[in-house]
């Protein structure tokens, strides 16, 4: 207590000067809106780019690969062209679902919408992502199993079996991680829109 009294007496000027600084800062606007806007824009661009890449992958790359695969690998009958066709269908389904997610979110114009609409869109988008993942999971499992079997030529070729399975598991995990990160970015964008409007 005595020490505090000594402190108060000796350093009253320091404390009052520090108080003046606080007072001054209270009335000043320390601009952070530019930083918030820039960060929000970067996230929005990132989400937008991610959706475009997904659409390119499922709408162009995967179908082209599937058609080329069907054209060049008909040696095993249904096992080959059936697989190609399934990949084509899954890619088409993925394209439709991605498009619906993209339109629901409308990330490019999210910041211009009212807070209620932006929040509603983000919530709908979140539900849609979960639902779409569920819808895609069934054909994806079939594609995965078929890929593994096809790669090992429907025989018990253990090394190829293990390698293909591992590759698929890693790529699926990576895909889900990316998806999760994008969803988190969308949430952050919404939070930043809210902050900027305050």
């Amino acid at each position: 207590m005595n020490q505090q009294i000594v402190d108060m007496a000796d350093f009253q000027d320091l404390k009052s000067q520090f108080g003046l600084l606080h007072k001054k800062l209270e009335h000043q606007r320390i601009v952070t809106d530019e930083l918030l806007q820039s960060s929000m824009k970067a996230k929005m661009n990132s989400v937008n780019r991610w959706y475009k890449q997904r659409m390119l992958l499922s709408g162009v790359a995967a179908p082209v690969v599937a058609v080329v695969f069907i054209a060049h690998n008909c040696d095993m009958g249904v096992a080959s062209w059936g697989f190609g066709l399934l990949v084509l269908l899954v890619a088409l389904l993925e394209l439709i679902l991605t498009l619906s997610e993209y339109r629901t979110l409308d990330i490019v114009h999210l910041a211009t919408k009212s807070m209620t609409e932006a929040t509603e869109r983000v919530c709908r988008h979140r539900k849609m992502v979960a639902r779409n993942q569920f819808i895609l999971s069934v054909p994806l499992v079939v594609v995965v199993v078929w890929t593994v079997l096809y790669a090992s030529r429907f025989t018990l070729n253990l090394p190829i079996f293990v390698l293909t399975s591992a590759l698929i598991v890693v790529s699926l995990m990576w895909g889900f991680k990316l998806l999760k990160r994008r969803c988190r970015q969308v949430d952050e964008v919404l939070h930043q829109i809210e902050q900027l409007r305050q």
Binding site: D7, F18, Q28, I30, L35, Q195
Partner: protein, 151 residues
């Protein structure tokens, strides 16, 4: 979070900078570090303690070298405590002149003390023991007293 603690961040940046431009740079640097570090903030300490720690670490480690530094966007801090000449600013500049003569670690401790933090809170932020805080604060206060006597 940034809005709520902008005063704290600005205060630290101010006492660790030479001019307005450097305050702007430091302010951005602290914000970037807070953004980067926020996902790993587990709430083990109070948010304010964490913000003080990040701000003080950033400011004391700050180097004026541009090379290798992350490209930041221009951000203007709408206050100039170096050039304004109203009475309050002059008083604040007097405080700045005294505190800025201390070494960075002592500067951190005295800033936390001026922020009315308890010795235990100061120890938590700077990562030293309670008795160390007491000893260092005593020395810092002696230095500050000597400075005012020399004036």
């Amino acid at each position: 979070m940034v809005r709520e603690f902008r005063q704290t961040i600005y205060t630290v940046c101010y006492f660790f900078s030479k001019d307005k431009e450097e305050v702007n740079d430091l302010f951005q640097e602290v914000l970037i570090n807070l953004w980067r570090g926020f996902p790993s903030f587990r709430g083990e300490s109070a948010l304010k303690t964490w913000i003080w720690r990040v701000s003080l670490n950033t400011c004391s480690n700050y180097e004026r070298k541009r090379r290798g530094r992350v490209q930041t966007i221009p951000l203007s801090v709408g206050i100039d405590l170096y050039n304004d000449d109203d009475d309050h600013t002059i008083q604040i500049q007097k405080l700045y002149d005294r505190i800025n003569r201390l070494d960075p670690f002592d500067r951190a401790i005295i800033l936390l003390w001026l922020e009315n933090m308890t010795y235990q809170e100061i120890a938590n932020v700077v990562g030293i023991t309670l008795s160390n805080v007491t000893t260092r604060l005593f020395r810092v206060k002696e230095q500050l007293k000597a400075m005012s006597n020399n004036k």
